[in-house]
């Protein structure tokens, strides 16, 4: 299947099986390895990307269904909330191994974009689908609040 994908503001033409999850198109065909594979069944959120600003688990999104503007961790810093999240992540030393953090930042950026002042409950709603094995959760919560204030 030949398909045009709008990835990080550029049109990329890919020739991939229609049922190939977007995650593998990004990683193995386009070389965008910032988006991570964790579980393959939408349980961990490491593969989170944005499509038209909403957070999507790319590990279960078939390439054939991937329309709209795709933004990955490599470019989310160009959005105001993405940049704010990244800065707050640094300020509060959120990251440990870092493997899940692409997905965490993507989920947080999407949350901040639709809700500039999230409560703890809003953070739970938006972030509970993202697993962190290093359990950086307390700092993720604080960092989202910090980014919201900035």
């Amino acid at each position: 299947m030949r398909k045009n994908l709008n990835v990080n503001g550029e049109v990329r033409v890919v020739d991939v099986p229609p049922d190939m999850p977007l995650l593998w198109v990004l990683r193995d065909v386009l070389g965008l390895t910032g988006t991570k594979y964790g579980c393959g069944i939408a349980q961990c959120g490491a593969c989170t990307i944005h499509i038209d600003g909403r957070p999507v688990r790319s590990c279960v999104l078939p390439a054939s269904a991937a329309g709209g503007a795709i933004v990955t961790i490599e470019a989310v810093g160009n959005t105001p909330t993405g940049a704010a999240a990244q800065k707050a992540w640094l300020d509060l030393d959120v990251v440990q191994c870092g493997y899940c953090q692409s997905g965490q930042v993507m989920s947080a950026a999407a949350l901040l974009a639709r809700n500039p002042a999230p409560t703890d409950e809003d953070i739970d709603l938006a972030m509970s689908g993202n697993i962190c094995r290093c359990a950086t959760y307390p700092r993720i919560r604080d960092a989202i609040k910090r980014a919201a204030r900035s």
């Binding site: 990080n8 503001g9 550029e10 033409v13 890919v14 991939v16 099986p17 190939m20 999850p21 990683r27 193995d28 386009l30 070389g31 965008l32 390895t33 910032g34 991570k36 594979y37 964790g38 579980c39 393959g40 069944i41 349980q43 961990c44 490491a46 990955t72 961790i73 490599e74 470019a75 810093g77 160009n78 990244q86 800065k87 992540w89 640094l90 030393d93 990251v95 440990q96 191994c97 870092g98 493997y99 899940c100 953090q101 692409s102 930042v105 953070i123 739970d124 972030m127 509970s128 993202n130 697993i131 962190c132 094995r133 290093c134 359990a135 950086t136 959760y137 307390p138 700092r139 919560r141």
Partner: protein, 801 residues
Amino acid sequence: MTLQAPQLPTREIELVTDRRRLILGGGLVLGLAVASVKARAQTADPSRVNPAGPQPLSTDDVSAAAGEGFRGFAPDAFIRITRDNQVILIIPNVEMGQGIYMGESSLIAEELEVGLDQVLIAPAPPNEALYKQPLLQFQGTGGSTSIRGAWEPLRKAGAAARTLLITAAANRWGVPVAECVAERAMVRHTPSGRQTTYGEVVDDASRLPKPEQVALKDPSQFKIIGKMIRRVDTPAKVNGTAVYGIDVIRPGMKFATVQSCPWRGGTLRAVDDRAALAVPGVLQVIRLPDAVAVVGEHFWAAKQGLDLLKVQWNAGPNANMSTEGLWASMEQASNAARGAVAHQSGDFDRAFQGAEKRVEAVYRQPFLCHAPMEPQAAVVHVTGGGAEIWCGTQVPTSAQGAAAKILGVPPERVTIHNYLIGGAFGRKLETDYVEQAVQIARFCPYPVKMVWTREQDTQHDNYRPLYLDKISAGLGADGLPVAWRHRVTAASVTIRFVGPAGMRPNGVDPDAVEEAEDPVYGKFQNMLLDYVQWQPPEGLRVSWWRGVGPTHAIYVVESFVDELAHAAGQDPVEYRRKLLRNQPRGLAVLNRAAQAAGWGTPLPAGAGRGVIVQKSFGSFLAAVVEVQVADEGDVRLRRITVAVDSGITVNPSVLKQQVEGGILFGLTAALFNEITFERGRVQQSNFHDYRMLRINETPPVEVIHIQTNNPPGGIGEAGTTAAAPALCNAIFAATGVRLRELPVRRELLRKNARKRTLAPPIAAALGARLLTPAEEVRDERADANAANDRGELPLDGIGEP
């Protein structure tokens, strides 16, 4: 197909420290890496090149620095300074989230008198001679040993290099060394104000003899150590540019994924691969003795092919292995008349018989999977007489050796490029995934990236072993223990990893008894601790897991001490205070944690607090966990309070990170995790059945850092070792049910089940079955064992016979 990769902007992020502004960004820290990657990119297939920018922190990019061809100042294994004053620090331990790039570069930079913003960081290549870990005695990262091992050598390396550089400058100026000082990679002659960069004197310094002795700074002079400085590896980890083993892309690389035999010790019998080979993009089906792999143009093709294989296995010797059967076998082993004695003092039998009260308990801990977020992966290119390997590993030399053995070549023909690790927790002390990738790559004329599915990773991990602990104590009139008997039965991880040399001469696995032997309270009176090595079935390999021995022992000891406190009718904090009379550091953390947690203040119905105090990896830590238990038995975490004294702390921010994450990591396992076998197969596969704590289940975590001038302790695992006992003690406080088996069995905590688990009248108050005076103990274990055989010992928290 658009072949041109987009050029993403490199962002520089400003970080403010206590002293000055550090500019830490991809461009600066990883400058060297950028150059080499750009060179490589020109030769690569452009559609395959990682367009994300710099490939940070891999040996690949700094081999020029670490290798023999380096031109400049190379006084030791860790420091390289070029003539243009570029400082490169070679970090002996691997970064897997614990912040060691930060910690070890701080140690060197502190004494070398360079800013962290002035250095490049490179992971050490495999080289036992240069990078052997002083505590582990091999080149590896684990056991919370890194800072403890590096504390002296790396500071001394920095100080020695600084001394040489100052001397070289002083000699050039013809002034006394004492009149010169170093700061930020410069030497200054204080009286004249002359100054020079390190780079300008590297050739002179290289010719000087190494100083015999160097003076290390007094802690009051530290500029970096102990300061809140942000981690150097964060920027790349929040903008997608960090490269983990699974992210490596090589020119012409293909992708493989694997199914190993579902039965440990089983073999591949036959594969029908017709359907798989018909999948577009599938290139090869590779048969290994105990696995089958599919290679494709991308992971998805390989995975589709793998799913379409019709595979037949020889189940082998473990076709009927079950968790139940393994426990029965452990139980039998634990009844051995003699174990290997780890510690014996006084006369346990007599003291136990003469005790006012006697308490006994049996604890069980399950198999645990490491389940790091990054599934196992490695890129291997087998060429004529050797191989190049790109992966993340905690043990680069072992990986190199294992690969060389498979290929039948000397180790130096295998190059290991070590990468960031997406969580390890002990998993990457194993080299199985590297070996399997090498076996696959032998059949491939191109570099191949093997990526395990999460299911393969969950089911083919080498697990933290089962532990069976039988423990008894006699209490004196004051309620404190006067006799202490503990038998540990477990498979030996040490013998697997280190071999007989790691064991004590009498057969004790030091890992299995660590912290049981020498708990925070010091040795108990009339103490007998022994170890029975259980032989797991062939093919079932056990592994180190975050917290290693202490995770096992502290759960048992701190749960049991809690049982003793209740048996003595004393408050658990007060009881521990008495036991810590001679341990001021332990007492201090206990008091701080108890006070901060509001110990003793009222809680709502169904809630409870549990406390533990421990010494592990050279750090002292006390934790109070607060839980709420629902009538149906579900446990919710309410609050966590930790006080920690890790001695001199290189980076307080990283310390807090590790304690927060470490205790939540341990709580995840205690609440949810066990690997079980049925008919030889693992019953868990992914995060839906091997459950992870989520942010909405995470309570507030307060970490109180007590700074002392003791030598630094390890901190990567101390939080984890505290988790399970604090949790179970809290559950006891909330419900009166003593959980002696992990993970938490919710069915035992249901409101209508709770009464059954308390044997009236004594145990209702005490949580453990007490022996009546009539049940005298004749042989040290015979009675306990016999009682156990009769099912009389409390096994699962069900206290009545």
